[in-house]
Symmetry: C2
Subunit: 373 residues, 2 copies
């Protein structure tokens, strides 16, 4: 399909500017990289080689799966087994296959562990091995931070399914068909796939009043009560054709005044943040405004305000108040806004929705909310 | 609890031998490390510092969760937020807190990306920053490859639950309550947690006859048929108090002679491998014997024969025929044996069980099998 050609062309152009002869991307159990799926359609466990002379070689752990998923991309398929499942041997062989000149630059992923980097440098002495934070991987994640039309359309569809699930969840908590964390989590598993999703975008986090004090409750869900007196958090997302949503509902019942305060502050923060989300706004400003709002009430949020979503559940832009956060919002970016406050004694509250930046302002794709029972 | 003191003591002794003043372990979204759970009980998202003067500091992303889970371990708790959620600042502050002498060795995880390593070295100029493959992390994984009594007892219990699920799955495929991949996967989600498990040890992989050709079908499970004519693969595990099982059943119905051949070869390979699994046997020998068996029939297995299980679903020892595999089986090791053969035209077959090495030989903890329908 033509989206793969267009995306590969972006990388090839960048490689020419940077004088990089060969880029290797890697998706393995210990180092996941959705750039390979973005560029080829292949969902994982592979190496992808891109050469400055505009060729691509996909080295897949499972060649049968690669034929099925990367069949539409302009890539040559090889099997990882052909290189004894060793990245170093694959780099060497593919560099020869693509006629990469000796002495030229080969860039490996920025997440390559230091000892493995030393190993590559020691073995691939014919080339100049480059490993850097602001290299090909970062550039790809930057490209991916602004979604193209196809990606936006898929995410809208995924958000629509998410919203159907939100309706169903609220209905079933109200009519007490959902009484436990497990009831909520399993409903999502079943109903997401019934609607054509690959699955959930991460393991659903359902925390009843006894467990909502934690940002991410552990275990993710249990058979304990959900939706009873106090605050219950439900954080979930669906994955459709690779693209994620990520929302959090809070269910509130018979709150005391301290819990009411958490809820109203969280709602206020979400409203404030979304109202500021425009093309050109530094992401840091939004997160700092929320920090300031909370600190007026002597509260502090123990996590970032939001993050991009796409082929990964956490991608760029980052919406945090950290001093080194330089992301500026752009039309086409899709990210979460998820203020939350947590207290070991009274529980926690989080409200998370997915926002698309359009030319005319923020569009709230999902319909998550604080549900007052 | 005393297991944490005993495990910490092992690391401290090793640090003295190695003249390492401070070890930093890290569990983050991009680099998971169950060593922290093994040493403290805390399930994740944290830094753990161990000093040669036998002190431990746990720096948790969620301090409330850490109080709950690491409360029994002899560690000082700090919050990651206190260090602006930056590992470098945490290292510096904790080194001061623990009075690590200037100029001494601080070891960081072997999986630290090369650019991040450079960043640490540039900022932590008061210390000698060590990052190596055969360091603290590897040593810890080596300790963990041989299970202690407590770990073996938990794994036995997890295997018992797994076996109850296997019975239930076979019964429900036979009586056609399970007709789709989703039916199988959801039964596991529900029944594992009902029996007290934290959840599954990885996302269940259910591949009906149309999808079993892939080693790991993508998506993991769908609403397509399961248990019909041909070969269906079901790969799952449960997680109990942190400890994993990992088994694969194959369901076979109305096979043609080529499919029969895959099944009989796989069964033969499993039997051969298990019979060889004794204290003192090099793991490579077992995997090579299976390779030889398959190659006599001109078949090749596209993945390793097995791997250790424990707090992670993939740990040491490795049971592969790779030339650099130096693992030798020892009493107390628990690992999978999982021969499999796959064909894009007729589907795939895998048989995986969990084996404990005892003084008298292999003990098969799980009851997975090829189910002939």
């Amino acid at each position: 399909m033509e989206q793969y050609s267009a995306r590969l062309a972006k990388v090839w152009d960048w490689m020419t500017e940077e004088s990089i002869s060969l880029v290797m991307l890697e998706d393995t159990e210990s180092r996941r990289d959705q750039n390979i799926r973005w560029l080829t359609g292949h969902p994982g466990d592979a190496l992808l080689f891109l050469s400055q002379n505009r060729k691509a070689v996909l080295t897949a752990w499972d060649i049968n799966l690669a034929k099925q998923y990367a069949g539409n991309a302009p890539v040559v398929l090889t099997a990882y087994n052909d290189f004894e499942r060793q990245a170093c041997k694959a780099i060497s062989a593919v560099a020869k296959m693509l006629e990469i000149p000796l002495g030229s630059k080969i860039e490996i992923p920025s997440v390559t562990p230091y000892p493995l980097f030393l190993d590559y440098v020691g073995k691939l002495t014919d080339y100049d091995i480059i490993c850097r934070d602001k290299g090909a991987g970062a550039q790809l994640r930057k490209f991916r931070a602004v979604k193209d039309e196809l990606e936006t359309a898929i995410t809208r569809k995924a958000a629509g399914i998410t919203n159907e699930l939100i309706e169903l969840l609220e209905k079933n908590v109200r009519n007490e068909k959902i009484k436990t964390e497990a009831d909520a989590a399993l409903l999502i598993e079943v109903e997401a796939r019934k609607r054509g999703c690959e699955g959930t975008s991460f393991e659903t986090l359902a925390a009843g009043p006894g467990r909502s004090f934690a940002i991410h409750a552990f275990p993710n869900w249990t058979y304990s009560g959900f939706g009873g007196d106090g605050l219950s958090i439900l954080d979930f997302g669906v994955k459709l054709d690779g693209y994620s949503t990520d929302v959090t509902l809070t269910f509130a019942r018979n709150l005391n005044s301290k819990q009411e305060k958490l809820v109203s502050l969280t709602e206020k923060a979400a409203k404030l943040a979304i109202s500021m989300a425009h093309n050109g706004t530094p992401a840091k400003n939004i997160a700092s405004a929320v920090d300031a709002l909370f600190s007026k009430s002597k509260k502090q949020m123990p996590h970032g305000l939001g993050h991009g979503i796409g082929l990964q559940e956490h991608e760029y832009p980052l919406i945090t108040s950290r001093s080194n956060n330089e992301w500026v919002l752009e039309t086409g970016m899709i990210f979460t806004i998820e203020p939350g406050l947590y207290d070991p004694l009274i529980g926690g509250c989080r409200l998370e929705n997915d926002i698309l930046i359009t030319e005319t302002g923020p569009e709230i794709l999902t319909a998550s909310r604080i549900v007052h029972l």
